[in-house]
Symmetry: C2
Subunit: 484 residues, 2 copies
């Protein structure tokens, strides 16, 4: 209990919520009522949940995380009025596994959302997120929520793996990354196409529910259309609890923004793209306030992994952190995370370790549900931190890459067993024995290896990592299953 | 005029202030009255000026500039209620020249505050800031201000060069850097002493006015005592306009903090030290508010140069910027800069290029004075930006090192003619022909040289730099004059 409870009602709520994760059946009606009273709004029932993600957004890409040029007033406002977390992690350094973990509350190895040769799903993938997984959408739908996804899925594009088969009532967006199918002119390199993103190079479709409605997608209006779809979803469901998952396609390469945002920023095309995403966030907040839903809605903004730095100025920045997407250095997985729920969240900057998996457990708990008891769940309930009434039970973080444990953090310390650059960046794969050791408190940039000075710390982390791995159930890797 | 004027009175004031820099004698009484009316306070007369600097504080070391662990609530508050500048520069990458420029409004070459072999003043230096220079303290004293310095001087320790000979009514602090004289035990390396800063290693004195009052200084209480001295100075001069210059000794190595701040941060000793500096800032703000002076006081916080990164976790972080102290990469000279003047400064994040030299011209203008007309002055009046009524005339920045122009910025572009690491960091001195070219808008980290793609931009900057150098008057370098 590092912070004083805001109100007795909130303390009670947090206590009940913690209880709810351990008991079945849950006292969901009680929790829901308490939430409503605590939030001090006229809204009734459990809170709405809105999870917005950007794609390949780096730790250093927002004004509130120190970017000198990119302006993000709506995200700044969320940070000012809510909580800005500085040690929050995507669960993987690339897209598909990270998204699987967010939606299932489980390390992606448990659901087979990895490969030994393939890092993510591709348009020729033969599989997707298994039907046996319980997604956040399914769990919240069981609690009476309307569920919608607006944006990029990337957990299997074949019909049986689509969002609508995983608990979402509706979907508008693209099935995999925006660079994953293309029709390049003769002799043109794909890399060149990234920097000259004319429409007809790229061929990714837009889906509505299970129908392809546009191909190729007009990506220049994608962020704008996502925002409009999100507004419509909220307006359509203002009389019932809803879960909106809004995984933006941008700023994944190739970069597109709508006409009003061309030259909008002083930070080039990348800055324009981030500023349009920020504007889209603002439209969601404005809609919640206009419909008087803000006091009963948790809004979360985060990223699926670090910045794609090998595209130089068309990729983002990890700020003070080392490397980016595809690596298990902090720049690959530590991402911005902002929580907004006016009147309920205790404003501040939070240094606790958080994981995207925690959004699963926390959301279900707030909704008065219980997380699945028939399988290991890795997400924890962080609502005590959000409400300023208590702490998170999480004190560690595992960094997997291609099914292999590359690094492990316990408290402030992090060991690297293996490091590897990717997406064109050094260093190449290197195994470390003894592992590298960094103290992330004083060295968030992972510059100063202290393994020789602190061998007992290394030994303690090696042991903790071994215990963690011993408890990890690993499914068959599904990303390697690809067709002709 | 990128921002709408806040009030007609402010617009008038800005206009008069601009006029004042071009005319002599100045309409100082008119300006002063207008300032008082515009600030909306009961205070009368020209505003008080408080300039607080930290020593070797990096661009990335404050929470509002993206540090993940260091907590700086008082500086965060200044940023939230005032302006946070993201492209503000110390005028040199090391201490003495940077401080000379801040206090004289002139590039340090003009005042001889450089050396060809010696980077800063040392305890065996034979010279100091020439008496012919006009300091901000002298200029403001001429306008009726009480003037005080609390902290590190580093512009000559011999009697004729002390702050009291340069316009300050009073001084409490140290004459040069806190690591510059020492009594090490037999066989102990100076570098080791930095990390084990027992009191009796270090021998720097504390001065009050022109008397040595303590030697060695008890550095562990230095930040705390500076804060107390600042509070006393403000309390003693609440009935007249005052200029307080508060150049903290910390976080220059060796690091010291008082007992209440041991373990105060989660970011090690360096974090503790910054958090104590932040607390000292808070005590200044609290005093101004308690005495009802806040509405008539401009408070500025900045750093003298970038972080001393070769001391690893005992040095700071430049965040997203490259390298640190002693280099002419952005990390060496771009520093945090926060302006606070409640009710008068238009809150926001400012991307304009600013220089510590601008504090000289702006402060004198606000005081109703005129900058010296008998010599080149490089500082410009940034009050139109502070008030939200206009723009700064500055669009370039020159990066000198040891008397040599290493790099030049014009608008968003920066060329490097020479790069050199120092303080133990690579790279070694390298001359670049053609110069390196970076676009700081999209590449603030100076990672992607675009000189081959943009030869005409390179040519334009080479020409602009040549014009700049042609107008630079260079005095004899004084740092090389050292005694036995």
């Amino acid at each position: 209990m590092r912070r004083p409870p805001r109100t007795a009602a909130l303390a009670l709520m947090a206590g009940l919520a913690l209880l709810a994760t351990n008991c079945s059946p849950s006292p969901s009606a009680t929790v829901a009522t308490t939430v409503s009273e605590a939030s001090g709004s006229a809204a009734e029932g459990p809170p709405n949940i809105v999870i917005i993600t950007a794609d390949d957004l780096g730790y250093g890409d927002l004004a509130s995380y120190g970017h000198p040029n990119i302006r993000t007033p709506h995200l700044d406002r969320m940070a000012r009025e809510g909580q800005r977390w500085t040690s929050f992690y995507a669960q993987a350094p690339v897209c598909s596994p990270s998204r699987a973990a967010l939606l299932t509350g489980r390390v992606h190895l448990r659901s087979g959302m990895f490969g030994r040769r393939t890092a993510v799903f591709f348009p020729d993938s033969l599989t997707g997120l298994p039907a046996t997984e319980v997604t956040l959408a399914e769990a919240l739908r069981d609690q009476g929520y309307a569920t919608g996804i607006v944006g990029k899925w990337h957990l299997g594009h074949l019909p049986e793996y689509l969002p609508t088969r995983h608990g979402f009532d509706s979907w508008f967006g693209i099935p995999y990354s925006n660079d994953m199918d293309w029709h390049l002119p003769e002799g043109m390199a794909n890399r060149t196409a990234y920097f000259a993103p004319e429409m007809d190079y790229w061929h990714v479709p837009i889906m509505r529910n299970e129908e392809e409605v546009e191909r190729p997608a007009d990506q220049s209006t994608l962020t704008d259309r996502y925002a409009q779809e999100a507004v419509t979803f909220i307006e359509s469901h203002q009389d019932q609890p809803f879960f909106l998952y809004l995984p933006h396609t941008m700023p994944h390469m190739p970069l597109f923004r709508s006409e009003p945002f061309e030259g909008h920023s002083t930070a080039g095309t990348y800055g324009d793209v981030i500023e349009e995403v920020d504007s889209a966030v603002g439209r969601v907040l404005e809609t919640l306030e206009r419909l008087e839903l803000a006091a009963n809605t948790l809004v979360v903004f985060t990223s699926d992994n670090g910045p794609w730095t090998s595209f130089e100025t068309h990729g983002g920045s990890a700020g003070p952190l080392r490397h980016g997407k595809g690596t298990t250095f902090e720049g690959g997985m530590r991402v911005p995370a902002i929580f907004w729920w006016p009147g309920t969240i205790e404003p501040g900057v939070i240094q606790d370790i958080g994981s995207a998996m925690d959004l699963f457990t926390t959301s279900i708990t707030l909704a008065g549900g219980v997380v699945p008891a028939d399988r290991p769940i890795d997400g924890v309930d962080i609502s005590p931190v959000l409400f300023g009434t208590g702490m998170t039970p999480r004190d560690s973080m595992a960094y997997y890459r291609m099914g292999e444990l590359f690094a492990f953090r316990q408290g402030p310390y992090k060991v690297h067993f293996v490091t590897e650059g990717r997406y064109g960046l050094p260093p190449a794969r290197t195994e470390h024995d003894p592992p590298l050791l960094f103290d992330l408190r004083v060295d968030p940039g992972e510059r100063y290896d202290i393994s020789t000075e602190q061998p007992t710390t290394v030994a303690a982390l090696v042991e903790a990592a071994a215990r963690y791995e011993a408890n990890m159930t690993i499914a068959e890797p599904l990303f390697d299953l690809r067709g002709g």
